[in-house]
């Protein structure tokens, strides 16, 4: 079980392989990764992610512990970056391992839903022309928590 909050880029393939190798008895591994998307109209120069050092790790560890309490997971991994990201850069990933896929999928969705609106990260978009705007939270993200 691990949570990593880091500025540096990570190698998704290497992380996914290492994770799968760690939990060979599991049978099912689900991974999800979030990638900086481009903005249609006004090209995105970069996305800058701010976080709350200390609270971020606590919040992610709590979310991961909650997932472990709900599903019988062999392992779970959360990596989330902060700092400046270019379009196409990987922002974060989660991985879950369980005996069967239903648990691994459900736990991965749970981790994503909660870390979107309960972990202290904030995204700011900076366009090629220098415009800056904080990404606003969506009602749909808050509503997604209610299904759990």
């Amino acid at each position: 079980m691990s949570v990593r909050v880091q500025e540096a880029a990570f190698d998704f393939g290497a992380e996914a392989n290492a994770f799968a190798a760690r939990c060979r008895g599991a049978g099912a591994v689900v991974t999800f990764s979030g990638i900086t998307r481009d903005l249609g109209r006004d090209a995105l120069d970069r996305m800058v992610i701010e976080h709350y050092p200390g609270m971020t790790e606590r919040a992610l560890e709590r979310i991961e512990a909650e997932a472990r309490a709900r599903w019988n997971l062999a392992d779970a991994l959360i990596i989330h970056r902060f700092g400046a990201m270019a379009p196409g850069d990987m922002i974060m990933m989660v991985a879950t391992a369980a005996r069967h896929r239903a648990e691994a999928f459900a736990a991965a969705e749970f981790l994503m839903d909660f870390l979107k609106s309960r972990a202290p990260f904030w995204k700011k978009e900076v366009t090629a022309t220098g415009g800056e705007s904080w990404v606003e939270s969506r009602d749909a993200d808050e509503a997604a928590l209610k299904r759990w």
Partner: protein, 82 residues
């Protein structure tokens, strides 16, 4: 004395990430009232607290939370991770 932290546009509007605050307030809401009364930039940042979230000692909390024994309060907009 407590540490008060600001993140994202709250930090930008107030113009600093962190400060030590001497407060007589009993609750987070009372602290917000004191900060609002300081200067226009604080009043602007705290104009609509329904747009803000608060963490007390690094746990998500609410504006009614008591301040007794608290070391750190943080104000920020709704989170946008993932």
């Amino acid at each position: 004395m407590i540490d008060v932290l600001y993140f994202a546009w709250v930090r930008e509007r107030i113009g600093l990430p962190k400060e030590r605050v001497e407060t007589d307030a009993d609750t987070v809401a009372g602290l917000v009232e004191e900060l609002r009364a300081r200067e226009e930039r604080y009043a602007a940042a705290f104009a609509d607290i329904s747009a803000l979230r608060v963490a007390v000692d690094q746990d998500l909390s609410d504006f009614d939370a008591p301040l007794a024994g608290v070391r750190e309060v943080a104000f920020f907009p709704p989170m946008t991770g993932g």
